[in-house]
């Protein structure tokens, strides 16, 4: 069974290699076929694999296939192996599914670009890396994917090599991710040092089977340390406070990249990792607390920044950061399946939003500034409609996908005994609805704030772009139905049940039953919050266009603070980046290295020359002085020997 598992990641890899090595020579249609074909085939393979998985009995839904030994040194053994269980099954479906759709979308979006082959090669490579990440059977393999997606992210953010800002953003993304990765790898080391193994199965088995050795920790113990180190990686990869700064800049990449990597898949790797390591996290109260707090803080802060941004992609980027925060909240309150559920639905609607935004940008000829758009619904009706669906979905309006997942998270927070988290989450949901509809209204409604030259070539995007929009819109609409909450009376949450075997080793705290009617009330409240947000947006950007400017002028300080993103980038630059560069150059290099260390070396050499220069003057060429040397020498020797003999 599932002998073809290796095909899933290897197909994109082959596509990437083919396009990268030969794509330039073989032309764009070849590139298209190879790029999209390999992604599509990978999706088919993934779908088949998941179907196989579903067909198997729940306790057999874990397939681990080892291919060869990658690294082996003493106990430190990492096999090249792929793991398929419900958790990775969901992930590969999302990755290949959304990935394939975005590949198709890219055909239109990237049409005519000079680096077409390069783009598809990188995109395929990304799919490969992401699939390795989610299908990894051990920590080190996961790290391969973990760094691999970081690389692809770097390559794709910096795809437009002409732009310095793109290069900067790519580098920033990679470096910030690396900071997280260091935490992650140290976590892996601690895992190895603790358990003597890198395999998920072995590690989790040890944890679950030895409750004495690995008790559920309330303080800071070994598991907490592991969890927190790993979480540093998640913070970097999933753009949480304080390492979220790379993600908004990452919007320098082509929009499909933003959709695939910086919205749907890669950035959710951190969430996936936390869920994968649920057996560890669930046993550490402290780690869960940190995850929750980081998650909810990020959700709130990013949402507030999103309120004021005018770049369409940046709004979406902050929205992504915010939504990722939600997912971490879910993990933090041990609602792991809710986190993955939101991950999945978010992949649909956020990809849709980005692709829609891309369609707008495409239509506007590269314009990304919301203040120069407006009234676009006439020109791009399909884009408009699908965007609306996505906005509703992310706002959590029943019965769209976002409603189910977000509601489950908020409710879990409450049920888990975190009312403050719930409250902040609720408020964030309101903010989310507000800024999403602010975006929609600014772009598609109201007066047209662009010139005639732009209007001239305004057009709806080609089918290769709109079809993916439609597909994603459908998914954003119905995607939530796989995990209908129990209070609807349609049986238990199927999504959670499906995932359950993968989370079997997780520690389950005692929970008290809450009646379905209470849950229903909570759902109502969250929809209400979203509606308030939507209406507020409508009031400010459609009904009363002057209100927004007025508010901004009135609350100048807070507005600027939000608009400048709390000055975090500036602070990092001033406090961290610049001092390090200056100290390295002026002190370490010119001061210590050239000055002291090398100066000492050269000084020793120079001193020899100085001594030689001085001593040679003893040799003054005069016989009489030479004779006195002989005499003195004789006297000195006599004195010396006399001293020696006492």
């Amino acid at each position: 069974m599932l002998d073809y598992l290796w095909l899933i990641p290897l197909l994109p890899l082959a596509g990437s290699a083919l396009n990268g090595l030969a794509g330039k020579r073989l032309g764009s249609s070849f590139v298209t076929w190879v790029g999209c074909g390999s992604a599509g085939l990978a999706f088919l393979a993934a779908a088949a694999a998941v179907l196989d998985l579903v067909r198997a009995a729940p306790q057999n839904r874990e397939v681990l296939i080892s291919y060869f030994t990658w690294i082996a040194c003493g106990d430190f053994v990492a096999e090249a192996q792929f793991l398929l269980d419900p958790l990775s099954g969901v992930m590969i479906l999302v990755v290949t599914g959304v990935g394939f759709v975005i590949h198709v979308y890219s055909i239109g979006y990237m049409h005519g670009d000079g680096g077409y082959y390069r783009f598809f090669s990188y995109m395929n490579l990304f799919l490969f890396a992401m699939l390795v990440l989610v299908m990894a059977g051990n920590f080190l393999m996961m790290f391969v994917g973990w760094e691999g997606v970081g690389l692809c992210s770097y390559l794709l953010i910096g795809y437009y090599i002409d732009r310095k800002s793109a290069g900067d953003a790519g580098k920033k993304a990679f470096v910030v991710n690396r900071i997280g990765d260091v935490g992650f790898i140290l976590g892996v080391f601690l895992v190895f040092a603790t358990f003597g193994s890198l395999d998920f199965a072995e590690v989790f088995r040890q944890i679950a089977s030895a409750p004495v050795r690995f008790p559920a920790e309330t303080g800071v113990g070994l598991l907490t340390a592991i969890a927190l180190l790993l979480f540093v990686g998640a913070i970097g990869k999933s753009a949480q406070i304080p390492l979220y700064v790379w993600l908004p800049d990452a919007m320098e990449g082509p929009t499909p990249v933003s959709a695939l990597i910086h919205a749907a898949t890669m950035v959710t790797a951190g969430v996936y990792m936390v869920v994968r390591c649920a057996p560890i996290y669930s046993r550490s109260e402290a780690a869960l607390g940190v995850v929750t707090v980081v998650g909810i803080l990020t959700a709130w802060l990013a949402a507030t920044i999103g309120l004021t941004q005018t770049d369409i992609k940046r709004v979406l980027a902050y929205s992504t950061v915010s939504q990722l925060g939600y997912m971490f909240v879910a993990a933090g309150v041990t609602a792991f399946s809710a986190g993955i559920f939101h991950l999945m639905t978010h992949a649909f609607f956020k990809a849709l939003l980005f692709l829609g935004a891309g369609s707008v940008i495409h239509a506007m000829g590269g314009e990304q500034d919301l203040t120069r758009m407006g009234g676009l619904r006439r020109y791009a009706p399909i884009t408009y409609r699908t965007m609306c669906i996505a906005a509703l979905a992310i706002s959590g309006i029943f019965p769209l996908a976002g409603f189910f997942s977000k509601d489950e998270i908020l409710f879990s927070a409450w049920a888990g005994g975190h009312p403050v988290v719930w409250a902040v989450g609720l408020a964030t949901a309101g903010l989310t609805a507000f800024y999403m509809f602010r975006l929609t209204f600014l772009a598609f409604h109201g007066p047209e704030r662009f010139g005639d030259d732009v209007r001239h070539h305004l057009h709806e995007s080609p089918p290769s772009m709109t079809i993916p929009l439609v597909i994603l819109a459908i998914l954003a609409t119905v995607g939530g139905f796989v995990g209908l909450p129990p209070w609807m009376g349609l049986g238990p949450n199927r999504f959670a049940e499906f995932l359950a075997p993968a989370l079997a080793h997780a520690h389950r705290p005692e929970t008290h039953e809450i009646s379905h009617s209470v849950e229903f009330v909570f759902a109502l409240v969250s929809v209400l919050a979203a509606l308030i947000g939507i209406f507020l947006a409508r009031y400010m950007y459609v009904g009363n266009p002057a209100a927004a400017g007025l508010l901004a002028a009135r609350a100048r300080g807070p507005y600027t603070l939000l608009y400048r993103k709390y000055y975090v980038d500036e602070i990092y630059d001033r406090l961290l980046v610049n001092p390090i560069v200056v100290v390295s150059r002026e002190m370490l290099w010119k001061g210590i290295d050239v000055g002291i260390v090398d100066g000492t070396v050269n000084g020793v050499g120079a001193s020899m020359r100085v001594w030689g220069g001085l001593l040679k003057y003893v040799q003054n060429g005069l016989v009489r002085s030479y004779a006195s040397w002989i005499l003195t020498g004789a006297a000195l020797l006599l004195y010396y020997v006399a001293r020696m003999r006492g």
């Binding site: 690294i71 082996a72 003493g74 430190f76 080190l140 470096v175 790898i185 601690l190 190895f192 390295s584």
Partner: protein, 522 residues
Amino acid sequence: MQITHILSWLTYLPAALAAALVFFPGGSARALKWFAVLGSTGVFLLSLYPVYHFDPGYGGMQFVEESAWIQAGGYSISHHLGIDGISLFLVALTTFLTPLALLASWNSIAQRLKGFLICMLLLETGMVGVFCALDLVLFYVFWEVMLIPMYFLIGIWGGEHRIYAAVKFILYTMVGSLLMLVAIIYLFLANGGTTFDLLAVYQNLESGRLVLSHRAEFWLFMAFLIAFAIKVPIFPFHTWLPDAHVEAPTAGSVILAGVLLKMGTYGLLRFCLPLFPAAAVAAAPYLSVLGLVGIVYGALVAMVQPDLKKLVAYSSVSHMGLIIVGMFAFTLQGLEGATMQMLNHGLSTGALFLLVGMIYDRRHTRMIANFGGLAHNSPVLAAFFLVVTLSSIGLPGLNGFVGEVLALVGTFLRNRTYAAIAATGMILGAVYMLWMYQRVFLGKVTDPANAAMGDIRSRDRAVLIPIVIMMLWMGVYSAPFLRRMDASLELVQKRVHDARAPEGGYQVRQLKTPAIRKSDGR
């Protein structure tokens, strides 16, 4: 097929080729180049024989050859060659890089070509000899002999300040190695004054027939250490390196970074650790700290270098620091990671120097500020450079990662703080390499000279492709490499381990006077 004396072949064939070049008829540059490249390729192919026939299960020396060399005046110096899991791949690395370096210098060496080729081949003999020698004096002979061709390579075919760099290189290296010579002599006398054979010394140490006083062990360790520390180079003995690297011609830099630096770490593994384990254990904290300083300091200084070669040179300081830290953790992973990292650094830094050389050949500058947007007109070069950059910063799936992660985990098992500090090298490595890559390859083309610069041609690709293949192979399927190192490194680890008490404290060996007649107590 059975080849006897394979190591002698490997060691002396390059020298024989060099000798043949001296008498090579005619002045056809092409013929000379082909002869050297093909000849050294032949040596490489020959070096696959021991790799293939290596018995991974056996940690001792294999393919051993021993014959008397100098038997006179009570001294017995033997011609004793052999390789184990530590030296096996270093030999292969040497023979692998030499033809590539020669090929890369195809057009860049315009004058005194014959001399250049001879120097390169003699250098190869010296390097292979260093890795194979099992007699202390023989080792020392190769160690020193190799300096001469390197000195000429830097001094004759180098850049503007080549003479300063060459002299600095040779003097600096000699200071250390001559002290090592005194230590070798002392060790020989302490061991009964009959043989310089390394294996005999090992044996006598193990059986307790040779017992060094604590003080003697310390000083011997220090003498060997300084020689190797300069070569590695361990901070603060590193300042010859940037000068030598910057001034050396491409091939010289490649060999220097690729192989010569490894001789330092190899020496530590072969001599310092097994011969003086107690001193090594006692010195480990200090050396680890120096290694850590090297990692961070080298990376930070590399970050702000304006010259490509200097940047790579300082990055070597950083990388070699990790090797030191991993090695002095004395865990199997640490040792193996360090050994692996030697190979990785040899490949990736060697490749970086090749690439910088290719750029320099086309642009005649190495100043980062003069570049920008090279990826537009030289996409293939940019792609190769990227792969090598990624290998250098230890991206999983490429070779650099395997060594790095093993060295780090090995360190982690010994000391978590050290590992955490060492791991910052991963971040800083990404910073300086990617920043450099960005400034050189990305952005708009502002200087027309950069636009006019052509992409690399097939010969350069022929140089780079084998390296990239090796990088991928070692990164994806490193088990065959690691497997061959296992047993030998376990032996080293065991030797170090025997020197420490079970509870982990440092055991002071019984003080016993070595077989030295008089003390220098005047």
